[in-house]
């Protein structure tokens, strides 16, 4: 059999080899220049169209190639528009290339930094230029990807500095696993953890601080990247790429290439930005009725069901008293240069942002040194060292936070008066601190929290060209950081009163080392190109969190673990260690530029699958196959004038996913603090039979380039089927546990991504490039593991009885809520005594009332260049998807919602009385009239959360807009110091049009570390994203 295959291959080769050569060959040469500054462009690929004759330009941009008159030369280079030129009588063909990234036929950075001709890819990677990211001047670069990456859902936790963001590509494939992509910087994984609060020691008293990933945000660690160091971001969602990055990339990979030094005259670049920001969206509250209940005034009440404010009562604008204008500054300095042999780049960046909430801030200082050296013509070495120091001064979030207390602060009280003259807390509602909500000023000034991270990452790449067609490359990297953080509540605060003050401090030390070696074999046999990559990869990830808690401060305002009652000190250590190894291979065969077939496969071992007690294989296999068919290379299409390029592609792949947490195969004991101490099994039972989650992905699509490449279209359709979901399901306690890890179930995601790029206008002075991204995803749970009736993410149970529930047939982004009790006809049952509707209670939490997944989203990215002016803007449009407006319900319950202003109108709740006749054919229709103003239960208890789920929320959001002006060359030509200079003004989140009644539909109730679908779509107690504007200048020497 093998012999036959060999024979077939050989005969195939023979056939291709016997193609006759082209007539009337001559030597054509020329120089390729950059249109921008007329500098020569080295390494530009020059091919004779329709043949596999190719060469590259030398350092002076010069090339020589054999071609005949009438043949077309194709010039392509990464980052530039492809250009074609026909060989005429002249033997010289000089061309200039325009910088661009929109064309087919270019080279893209794929897995492990391997540059590949886009034509050979059976999938569609998305590239975002570092420049586009940097120009938004956002601290967390993830937020600048919104709208720029089709198929990416980016949810920021809140609008405060240092807030975490969550990114999910192509829908969540795991019901409860980590669905965030892998981040890779210069070939080495970059940790993007968000601290899980379960690692911290909670307070001793249940009335005080609890840790459920809601009351504090810890950022997502990928925000340590200085956006100005990013050269380019490639987002891989498709089959082959994830197969190459292994299970870690099962939810996609975000490959970040940092800026490198370029050879030539050294240059120094400095840029800065100064910004202001303001929150302009805030939930509305009523200002007519004052504190009290049932129409009776009560200044100690938290409710606003009292009488109307007296005419002439001074009402304070507490929102504006509290919220300030945020200010930020950024400075970047970079120095680069190099020779033919060595290059280097050193950059330092400083960012400081004071948020709109007093005391909130984010500060980052980053240094990066990159160097490369061509030690021998065959041996290239490059290395990067990066140090980052990030400091986030945090404010609270969710229940009891400044946000909710500001919303509900009495309008007849000036929120600024939060201290008594002696510096103690001013009490508004009387004695009991446990029921007195914290003044927002008190909260942000007295309940301090901070995270400080020192991060060092290093990577090294050695590339050795053993033979012309054989390259050996290794990457090794370390990513090491230490975060020291604390969370505190003052003894006089609501959540500090029960414990006499509470301080939690922690240190997280994370040390990830990874490395890989690979051989890359490229050999062309006439028209057959072959590319074989074989490699080995390992990861060693260690995180250790040491947390201590202390209570009963001796000095009320002094924050130190030494300032607490010694007996209240408790500590906890959490260690999360895991390792992975992987052997991988990928083979691409191409026939001319017409057809490419890629096969890839991996064997991966993951320590999280091993057991201490059982023999259990840590290995699992997966692979991918894809095909790219560049049909425009066929002769039939060569004469189609308007069509410049066309590709059809299809791919199928499988990927495994190990358990998201280590130590869940074997049962785990936890130490208990009951009398006598000792160990007891944890709530979650391990399972020695766990297998990896398996996702099968089918993707197909096409790329088309038209009208002299002025219009291009890229369409992808995908279907992901993820089986063997690993889930800690709730089940009968008969298992011996409350939750138990099991495998099973099937989740399907289907979706489409469309990228349309065009250049409507291109002339000497004016160019307008526009990109339209469109994508949608439909996630559905086809079956549940173990056929359990449901699974809910308890962290999403934020306010009221609404939470995210997964069940067979449901959507991953479901929201389920309580319901009214109903008779057989579905009529609401009304109590005969109160006249108010009856609630069904917890039993009906499976009442599905919302789906947070958007129906689709668009991104419109525009770049208009007029002479030296450039205007760049990104409009993000989301269509559909439901939001649970927890803030609105909270305000409704408290009588602050404008919906409660009708309280003086008598109401008869529509429904039937629960009088024994409700299920007969003639139920008694309710006629009991109630006056809500005197019956506040109507608002406080007799609602269902589904009334506060806002359906089909759309938004149109101007994510960012930048206007920049570059000083014309003519102005600079008389001096030799300044090479380039520009000024800019950027605005972020400038406006939003939405049908959402709350402040911002794009916030999350949880931190970015939330698993599964995350906390997006739960709007409760989080600040809206502020509107920001910044300006600055850039100068290059």
């Amino acid at each position: 059999m093998r012999k036959i295959l060999l024979l077939m291959l050989l005969s195939g080769l023979l056939v291709f080899c016997t193609r006759p050569g082209f007539a009337q060959q001559k030597s054509v040469s020329g120089t390729v220049l950059d249109t921008e500054d007329n500098s020569p462009l080295p390494d530009v690929t020059v091919t004779v169209k329709g043949t596999n004759l190719a060469t590259k330009t030398n350092q002076q941009g010069f090339y020589t190639i054999n071609a005949a008159k009438g043949q077309v030369l194709v010039f392509s280079f990464i980052g530039y528009s492809r250009r074609e030129a026909t060989v005429g009588d002249n033997n010289f063909v000089n061309v200039s290339l325009v910088q661009s990234d929109k064309d087919l036929g270019e080279v893209v950075v794929t897995a492990y930094g391997i540059k590949r001709d886009r034509k050979s890819l059976g999938y569609s990677p998305v590239e975002v230029k570092g420049e586009d990211i940097a120009q938004t001047k956002r601290d967390n670069f993830l937020n600048s990807l919104a709208g720029r990456v089709p198929g990416a859902t980016i949810t920021s936790t809140s609008g405060t500095p240092g807030a975490s963001s969550q990114i999910i590509l192509r829908g969540a494939v795991s019901i409860d696993g980590d669905n965030q992509p892998l981040f890779v910087v210069d070939g080495v994984p970059y940790d993007n953890q968000t601290l899980n609060q379960e690692s911290l020691v909670p307070s001793s008293n249940p009335n005080a601080v609890g840790f459920a990933n809601r009351n504090s945000d810890y950022g997502n660690r990928a925000m340590d990247i200085n956006p100005d160091d990013i050269e380019n971001v490639t987002i891989l969602k498709g089959p082959e790429a994830t197969a190459l990055y292994g299970a870690a990339g099962a939810s996609g990979v975000i490959i970040i290439t940092t800026k490198k030094g370029a050879k030539g005259k050294g240059s120094l670049t400095y840029d800065n930005a100064f910004g202001f920001e303001k929150v302009y969206r805030f939930p509305e509250v009523q200002t007519i009725y004052g504190r009290g209940r049932n129409g009776v005034s009560d200044p100690t009440s938290s409710y606003y069901f009292g009488p109307k404010y007296d005419a002439g009562t001074e009402l304070f604008d507490n929102f504006n008293s509290f919220l300030k204008t945020g200010m930020s500054q950024k400075h970047n300095l970079s120095l680069e240069g190099g020779s033919d042999v060595n290059t280097f780049r050193f950059s330092t960046g400083y960012t400081k942002r004071d948020g709109v909430i007093p005391t909130s801030s984010f500060e980052r200082l980053s240094f990066r040194l990159t160097g490369s050296s061509k030690i021998t013509p065959k041996l290239n070495v490059s290395a990067t060292a990066n140090y980052v120091n990030s400091v986030t001064d945090k404010v609270s979030k969710g229940t009891g936070s400044y946000f909710l207390t500001l919303l509900t602060w009495p309008k007849d009280d000036d929120v600024r008066n939060y201290l008594n003259s002696d510096g103690s807390r001013r009490i508004l509602k009387g004695g009991n601190l446990l029921s007195e909500t914290d003044n927002p000023f008190w909260d942000v000034n007295k309940n301090l929290a901070e995270d400080r991270t020192d991060r060092f990452s290093f990577n090294n790449t050695i590339s050795y060209d053993v033979l012309k067609w054989l390259n050996l490359t290794s990457n090794i990297g370390a990513d090491v950081y230490s975060t020291q953080g604390f969370y505190s509540t003052n003894p006089q605060s609501r959540y500090g009163a029960a414990t006499g003050g509470f301080l939690n401090q922690y240190t997280q030390n994370t040390r990830n080392i990874s490395g890989n070696v690979r051989t890359n074999i490229r050999k062309n046999f006439d028209k057959i190109s072959n590319n074989l990559i074989i490699g080995f990869n390992f990861d060693d990830n260690r995180s250790r969190i040491e947390s201590q808690r202390g209570e009963q401060f001796i000095e009320p305002d002094f924050l130190s673990i030494n300032n607490v009652a010694p007996l209240t000190v408790a500590s906890k250590t959490t260690v999360l260690n895991f390792r992975r190894v992987r052997w991988f291979g990928s083979y691409t065969a191409g026939y001319e530029k017409l057809l490419y077939v890629t096969l890839a496969g991996s064997i991966e071992g993951d320590s999280r699958l091993t057991s201490k007690f059982y023999q259990k294989s840590p290995y699992f296999k997966y692979g991918a196959a894809s095909m790219a068919f560049n049909f425009t290379e066929l002769n039939a299409f060569k004469n189609v004038e308007w069509l410049n390029g066309g590709k059809l592609r299809i791919g199928y792949s499988t990927t495994g996913k190990a358990p998201y947490s280590p130590y869940i195969i074997d049962y785990g004991f936890g130490s208990v603090i009951t009398t006598g101490g000792g160990y007891a099994l944890g709530v979650t039972g391990g399972n020695e039979n766990l297998r990896p989650e398996l996702t099968k992905q089918l993707e197909f699509g096409g790329e088309f380039s038209m009208f002299k490449n002025r219009l291009s279209l890229d369409v992808s359709y995908y279907r992901l089927r993820s089986q063997d979901q690993i889930l800690a399901v709730r089940s009968s306690y008969g298992t011996g546990y409350v939750l138990k890890y099991i495998n099973g179930g099937l989740v399907q995601n289907r979706g489409m991504e469309v990228v349309l790029k065009g250049t409507p206008i291109t002339s000497k002075n004016l160019t307008w490039d526009v990109t339209v991204n469109y994508s949608f995803n439909r996630g559905r749970i086809i079956s549940m593991p173990g056929d359990v009736p449901q699974f809910y993410n308890s962290d999403t149970w934020l306010y009221g009885n609404a939470r995210s529930v997964a069940y067979a047939g449901g959507r991953l982004g479901n929201i389920s809520t309580d319901d009214f009790r109903r008779n057989k006809n579905g009529d609401v049952l009304i109590s005969t005594t109160t006249g108010l509707p009856l609630k069904a209670g917890a039993a009906s939490f499976t009442n599905i009332t919302g789906n947070r997944e958007p129906k689709g989203s668009f991104g419109f990215i525009n770049s208009i260049t007029y002479k030296e002016f450039n205007l760049n803007f990104n409009i993000d449009v989301r269509i559909g998807g439901d939001i649970y407006n927890g803030n609105a319900l909270y305000l409704y319950n408290l009588g602050l919602s404008k919906q409660t202003l009708n309280r003086e109108d008598a109401v008869v709740v529509k429904g039937v009385l629960q009088d024994g006749l409700e299920d007969t054919d003639n139920p008694t229709v309710n006629t009991i009239a109630i006056q809500p103003a005197y019956r506040n239960d109507y608002y406080i208890t007799n609602y269902i959360e589904s009334e506060f789920i806002e359906k089909d929320i759309n938004w149109v959001r101007l994510r960012d807009i930048t206007l920049s002006y570059r000083l014309p060359k003519s102005l600079l030509k008389n001096q030799k110091v300044i090479r380039n200079a520009s000024v800019f003004v950027t605005a972020t989140d400038l406006f939003m049009l939405t049908n959402y009644s709350g402040a911002d539909p794009n916030v999350s109730g949880l931190t970015g570390g939330a698993r599964g679908y995350g906390g997006g779509g739960f709007d409760y107690g989080a600040l809206a994203n502020p509107r920001g504007i910044s300006f600055g200048a850039k100068i290059q020497l």
């Binding site: 260690n577 992975r580 000792g678 007891a680 099994l681 709730r730 009968s732």
Partner: protein, 560 residues
């Protein structure tokens, strides 16, 4: 040929690296917490886990068995939901009343299996015996509370849904668990020693004979439950008497769990720090048992039980004839002079269980050994089984067997045993004494024993005397056993000897939970909601467990 060798070489390196990688990957055990602790490290956590189940559920069982009555049915939302239990209902869609279930399967369940397996592997047969003993105890608690439970399929690997067994299967099963326990506790080979067991056992300090007695006590309970069965007089009564005799010999054998009271988690659930008694007041049932009304026929001073000031609280108003001890009848509208009442009624307010004249908790969130009384203190023990209880079981069995002499002796032992219980001075882990001030003097005990509350001859002894004295002795801790007794006698059965209710001071609620379908009292607690009603519904449905009035159906053991 060469290629072949190359391939072999490649394969060889792959296999070798795969093997060494397997070792490299073998780091999946938590360096931070042990995954194979010794049985002695798990046992302390199990002992501490026992009171959690019963004390959490006491908030509901204590309303069924009228140990407590709510202060007010409406003052807070918590009281509104608790009130349903006072009306012999339950909270649908809630885990209230489900903590014994939780502890049976989760809190102790799988851990006890671990102790048993680990004990067997390390030849620590004493730990194995203790493991079985606690398993039997938990299953007995659970079936007493819930009737049918998951028994044969419990902890079976690979299952997510579990079938139930009714008591006709469960009770013999518990009997076998007890016998297993006894056989392991009787072994002294292997690594068995008092010191070894004492490492984890802070209740009996490794004394296997006391554990053996505890197992016999469990067996006595198992048969004592079955008084309504036809075989009781002919067979089971003898078993009860025999097991009682093999069980506790005096109060020092009592099985009681101590609390260190240094933080929330190691303090008594009913102590002032954890403040869980706020809503509860003493019932008229216990007041009438202690002030002489029920047992002696009147509450004149001479008839007042010297245990009364030790166990329950007095109001400031002493004009009510018994020295100010006021109780509340269920569903009577709560404390008639509750919080907020001013003027003349203020003095009639009933104090919280842990303090005379104290209405508000003086030491919430603060550890105190001075505040509180009887079992309601931060550092007071939680009794699980006492000598006194054993004697009352024996008395009841002997009485039913028409052996009044034996019954009478056990009855007297039971009462004196409870006095000794209150007067006890030595506790494991130096717990707080249960008496307030000084112990009850011998002369007061003797005068009570000679008084009208106590029958003076075997001939005069009635079932009612035994059961009511048992009620007093178990009040405040034996919530489940007391409820079982009440259910055995259908709460209001008449004692033929007196023509009155066996439990004279038991008062029928005047309001009943809507789903009870009339004045039907509770006979079982529904299994834990978030374990069974959500995740194991189909199994419940097999025996009608989904019915709204399931809780009113007498359990197998109650039926003849």
């Amino acid at each position: 040929m060469k290629i072949k060798y190359f391939k072999l070489f490649l394969l060889g390196t792959l296999v070798l690296s795969a093997v060494s990688c397997k070792k490299y990957l073998d780091i999946n055990s938590d360096p931070d917490s042990t995954q194979e602790p010794d049985a002695s490290s798990v046992l302390p956590a199990m002992l501490a886990a026992i009171p959690r189940g019963i004390q959490y559920d006491a908030r509901f069982l204590g309303l069924y068995n009228q140990n407590f009555v709510l202060r007010s049915p409406t003052a807070t939302s918590t009281e509104v939901s608790r009130y349903l239990w006072e009306t012999h209902g339950y909270n649908p869609g809630s885990d209230n009343g489900g903590d014994i279930w939780r502890q049976t399967y989760y809190g102790l369940g799988a851990n006890l299996n671990y102790i048993i397996d680990k004990g067997k592997a390390t030849e620590k047969w004493d730990y194995v015996g203790v493991g079985y003993a606690l398993k039997a105890h938990m299953f007995l608690q659970s079936t007493s509370q819930n009737g049918p439970i998951i028994f044969r399929e419990a902890f079976k690997p690979g299952l997510l849904y579990f079938k139930y067994d009714d008591q006709d299967v469960v009770l013999p099963g518990i009997d076998s668990l007890c016998r297993e326990a006894l056989s392991y506790l009787s072994r002294s080979d292997g690594k068995v020693s008092t010191a070894s067991l004492g490492k984890g056992d802070y209740v009996y300090a490794g004394d296997r004979t006391k554990w053996t007695k505890f197992v016999y006590g469990t067996l006595a309970r198992l048969y004592s439950m079955q008084t309504n069965k036809a075989q009781f007089v002919s067979q089971y009564a003898d078993s009860v008497i025999k097991f009682a005799d093999l069980s506790f010999e005096d109060g020092l054998d009592d099985f009681m769990i101590p609390f260190d009271a240094t933080k929330n988690d190691d303090a008594n659930f009913f102590g002032t720090y954890r403040d869980n008694l706020t809503y509860f007041r003493q019932s008229n049932m216990i007041v009438k048992l202690l002030d002489g009304t029920a047992l002696a026929g009147s509450n004149i001073a001479a008839n007042r039980d010297p245990r009364m000031p030790q166990m329950i609280s007095a109001s400031q108003d002493t004009t009510n004839g018994n020295g100010g001890y006021r109780g509340i009848d269920p569903t009577s509208g709560g404390d008639p002079a509750g919080t907020g009442t001013t003027g003349a009624n203020a003095r009639k307010r009933v104090a919280v269980l842990w303090g005379d004249s104290l209405y508000a908790n003086p030491s919430s969130n603060v550890f105190s050994t001075t505040y509180g009384k009887y079992l309601f203190r931060d550092k007071a023990v939680m009794p699980i089984m006492t000598y006194s209880e054993i004697q009352f079981m024996k008395a009841e069995a002997a009485f039913k067997k028409s052996n009044p002499g034996t019954a009478y002796t056990a009855y007297i032992n039971g009462i004196r045993g409870h006095f000794a219980f209150i007067n006890r001075t030595v506790f494991p882990r130096s717990g707080t004494a249960l008496y307030t001030g000084s112990p009850i003097s011998t002369s007061r005990i003797n005068s009570y024993m000679a008084g009208a509350n106590v029958k003076q001859t075997a001939g005069a002894l009635t079932l009612s005397d035994i059961m009511q004295q048992k009620y007093i002795a178990l009040w405040g801790w034996g919530y489940l056993e007391t409820w079982t007794d009440l259910r055995k006698y259908h709460y209001t059965d008449i004692d033929p000897a007196t023509g009155a209710q066996i439990y004279k001071s038991f008062a029928m609620p005047t309001v009943f939970y809507a789903n009870n379908g009339g004045p039907n009292l509770a006979y079982r607690v529904r299994p834990r909601y978030n374990s069974e009603y959500v995740w194991n519904q189909a199994s419940l449905d097999v025996f009608g467990g989904l019915a709204d009035d399931y809780h009113t159906k007498p359990t197998w053991v109650i039926l003849p």
